[in-house]
C-alpha cells in the first residue's frame, strides 16, 4: 500500500473514532433522560404541580419549589442584568488598557472558576448576616447573581466587541458623544449576543443547589413566598431532598420534578438560541 492510501485509512479511522466519542456522551445523556422519564413522567399531573409539600409521597407536590424557583430567577435576572451589562460596557468601552481593568479582567476569569459552594459561603456571610437579609429570596438571588455575573460580563463584552468599528465611526462622525454612540448604536446592535448570555446565565442559576443550601434555603416550605424577604425553596433542593429519602415513591417524585426542571432549562436555552439566530440574521455585516 502506498502512503496516501494509508493516510486515507487513518483519516477514516479517526473519523469513526470521533463519531464514537461524540456518541458516548449523547447515549449516556439519552439513557439518563430516558430513565428519568420512565420513572417520573406518569407522576406529573396538575395535582403534582399545584400541591404543597407533604410527608406522604403520593400527596406531595412541587408548588412551593417551582414558585420559589421563579422568584429566584426573576430577582437574579433583575440584579445580574444591569450589573453585568454595565461592567461589560465599562471593561470593553471605557476601561480598556487601564491597570484597574486588567486587574478586574483577571479576577473575573478567576471568579468563573470558583466552586459554587464558596459563593454560598460568601452569600451567607455578606447577604444573610452582614446585610441582614436572612435566608430570604433576596439573599439567594444576590448570591446566584454573583455566581453567574462573570457569564453575563464576558458575553456582553464579546457582543460589544463584535460591533464593527465602522458603525462607531459613522456615529462619531455625525457628532454623537461616546455614550450616545454606545447607547443608540452599539448596545442595540449587540442586544442579541447580550441576551443570549443573560439567558444562559439564568438557566445556570435555575439549576444551582449548593449555594442556596448553604445560605439556608429550606427543603420544607409549607407556603408559597409572597415577598422577596420570605423564606423559600427551589426545585433542585426539593429534588435533592426527595432523592435522599429511602422510599421508592419519593424517588418517583424526584424524577418527575427533574423532568419539570429540565423542561424549564431546555426552554430557556431554546429561547437563547432562537434570539441568537434571529439577531444574527437581522444584523448581517
Amino acid at each position: 500500500m502506498n502512503n496516501s492510501k494509508v493516510n486515507r485509512i487513518k483519516d477514516k479511522a479517526f473519523n469513526y473514532f470521533g463519531i464514537f466519542c461524540t456518541l458516548i456522551g449523547l447515549v449516556i445523556l439519552a439513557f439518563f433522560i430516558g430513565n428519568i422519564f420512565y420513572d417520573g413522567i406518569t407522576r406529573i399531573d396538575w395535582d403534582f404541580l399545584t400541591a404543597l409539600p407533604s410527608r406522604k409521597a403520593e400527596k406531595a407536590g412541587i408548588l412551593t419549589a417551582w414558585v420559589g424557583s421563579i422568584w429566584i430567577v426573576v430577582f437574579t435576572f433583575l440584579i445580574v442584568v444591569p450589573l453585568g451589562i454595565a461592567a461589560g460596557i465599562y471593561l470593553e468601552e471605557y476601561g480598556k488598557k487601564s491597570k484597574l481593568s486588567e486587574l478586574l479582567e483577571v479576577n473575573i476569569s478567576n471568579l468563573a472558576g470558583v466552586p459554587s459552594v464558596i459563593y454560598g459561603l460568601l452569600g451567607l456571610e455578606i447577604f444573610v448576616r452582614v446585610l441582614g437579609m436572612g435566608n430570604s429570596i433576596l439573599a439567594g438571588s444576590f448570591t446566584l447573581a454573583l455566581l453567574v455575573l462573570p457569564i453575563v460580563i464576558v458575553s456582553s463584552r464579546e457582543a460589544l466587541k463584535a460591533v464593527p468599528k465602522s458603525i462607531r465611526l459613522a456615529s462619531f462622525a455625525l457628532g454623537s458623544s461616546k455614550w450616545q454612540t454606545i447607547w443608540h448604536q452599539v448596545l442595540p446592535a449587540s442586544f442579541g449576543g447580550i441576551l443570549t448570555g443573560v439567558i444562559l446565565a439564568i438557566s445556570r442559576a435555575v439549576g444551582e443547589t449548593a449555594p442556596l443550601i448553604v445560605i439556608g434555603a429550606l427543603a420544607y416550605v409549607p407556603f408559597t413566598p409572597s415577598s422577596p424577604m420570605d423564606e423559600f425553596t427551589v426545585l433542585p433542593i426539593q429534588i435533592f431532598n426527595w432523592i435522599s429519602r429511602p422510599q421508592h415513591e419519593f424517588t418517583v417524585n424526584a424524577a418527575a420534578a427533574i423532568i419539570v426542571l429540565l423542561i424549564i432549562t431546555f426552554t430557556m436555552n431554546g429561547i437563547a438560541v432562537y434570539f441568537r439566530n434571529k439577531w444574527q440574521k437581522k444584523i448581517n455585516w
Partner: protein, 251 residues
C-alpha cells in the same frame, strides 16, 4: 471667492512616522476639491484632520493648525461633537446603521435632541431627496437599511450626513466600493451638492476627479506636490510627478 478651510504648516505623525510634511493649503467655499495621489501618500490622514477623526488613533500627533471659518479646530475650547455637526463625513465602504432607512437618516437629528415627529419626517425626506434616493425608498422607510444595494447604501450614508445640515462634507473614496452605474449616480449627486456645501473628496479615480472637482491637490509621500484648478492640473501640470501620476505611469 471665500476660503472655508485652511491648513497651516500641518505635519502629522503616527509615533515616529511622519505621514504629512508641512502642508499649507486653503479650500474654497462651495467648491469640490479632490485629493489624489498613490496609496499611502496621506490622503485619508489629511481628510480625517478636518473632523478630528484621527483623534481616535493613539499614535496620532499633529503640528500646525487647521482653520475652519478662521477658527483653529484643535483649540482646547472646541467641542468635537459640535464641530462634527458642521462637518459631515462619508466613508469608503458604505456603513449604514443596522436600523431602518428612516432611523439611519434621523439619527444625527435625534442625538441633537430633535424629537418632534413632523420635523423629523420633513428633514429625513429632504435629506433623502438631496441624496437622490427618495424616489427609490419612499415606500420602504421602515425597512432595514441593510436590505439596500451597495450604491443605495452609500447614498443613504450621504443622506444621513446631509440631514444634520453641515456646511462641509468630507468624502473618502466614496465610490470605490460601487459599480459604475451607482458611481455615476453618486458623482452627479456630488456635483449638485456643491451649490450648498464645501466638499473635499479623496479619489483614486482620475476620471472622477476630472469630472466632478473644481480644484485638485496631488499628494506624494506626505508632501503636497501640486494644487491648482482641476483643468490646469489635468491639462498642464507643473511637476513631472503629477504628470506621471495622472497619465497612469505610476500609481
Amino acid at each position: 471667492m471665500k476660503n472655508k478651510l485652511e491648513a497651516k504648516n500641518v505635519s502629522v505623525f503616527y509615533d515616529d512616522f511622519q505621514a504629512l510634511n508641512n502642508i499649507n493649503m486653503s479650500f474654497e467655499e462651495n467648491a469640490v476639491t479632490a485629493l489624489i495621489g498613490p496609496s499611502g501618500c496621506g490622503k485619508s490622514t489629511y481628510l480625517r484632520l478636518f473632523n478630528r477623526m484621527n483623534d481616535y488613533i493613539e499614535s496620532f500627533r499633529l503640528e500646525g493648525e487647521i482653520l475652519i471659518d478662521k477658527k483653529n479646530i484643535y483649540n482646547k475650547n472646541i467641542i468635537v461633537e459640535d464641530l462634527r455637526k458642521n462637518i459631515g463625513m462619508v466613508f469608503q465602504k458604505p456603513n449604514p446603521f443596522p436600523k431602518s432607512i428612516f432611523e439611519n437618516v434621523a439619527y444625527g437629528l435625534r442625538i441633537q435632541g430633535i424629537k418632534n415627529k413632523a420635523i423629523l419626517r420633513i428633514k429625513v425626506r429632504k435629506a433623502l431627496q438631496q441624496a437622490a434616493l427618495w424616489d427609490e425608498v419612499k415606500n420602504d422607510l421602515d425597512k432595514s437599511a441593510l436590505t439596500l444595494s451597495g450604491g443605495q447604501q452609500q447614498r443613504l450614508c450621504i443622506a444621513r450626513t446631509l440631514a444634520v445640515e453641515p456646511s462641509i462634507v468630507l468624502m473618502d473614496e466614496p465610490t470605490s466600493a460601487l459599480d459604475p452605474i451607482a458611481t455615476a449616480k453618486v458623482e452627479k449627486l456630488i456635483y449638485e451638492l456643491k451649490k450648498e456645501y464645501t466638499i473635499i473628496i479623496v479619489t483614486h479615480n482620475m476620471q472622477q476627479a476630472k469630472r466632478i472637482s473644481d480644484y485638485t491637490a496631488f499628494f506624494y509621500m506626505g508632501d503636497l506636490i501640486e494644487y491648482n484648478k482641476t483643468e490646469h492640473i489635468f491639462t498642464n501640470p507643473t511637476h513631472d510627478r503629477t504628470q506621471n501620476y495622472i497619465t497612469g505611469r505610476f500609481g
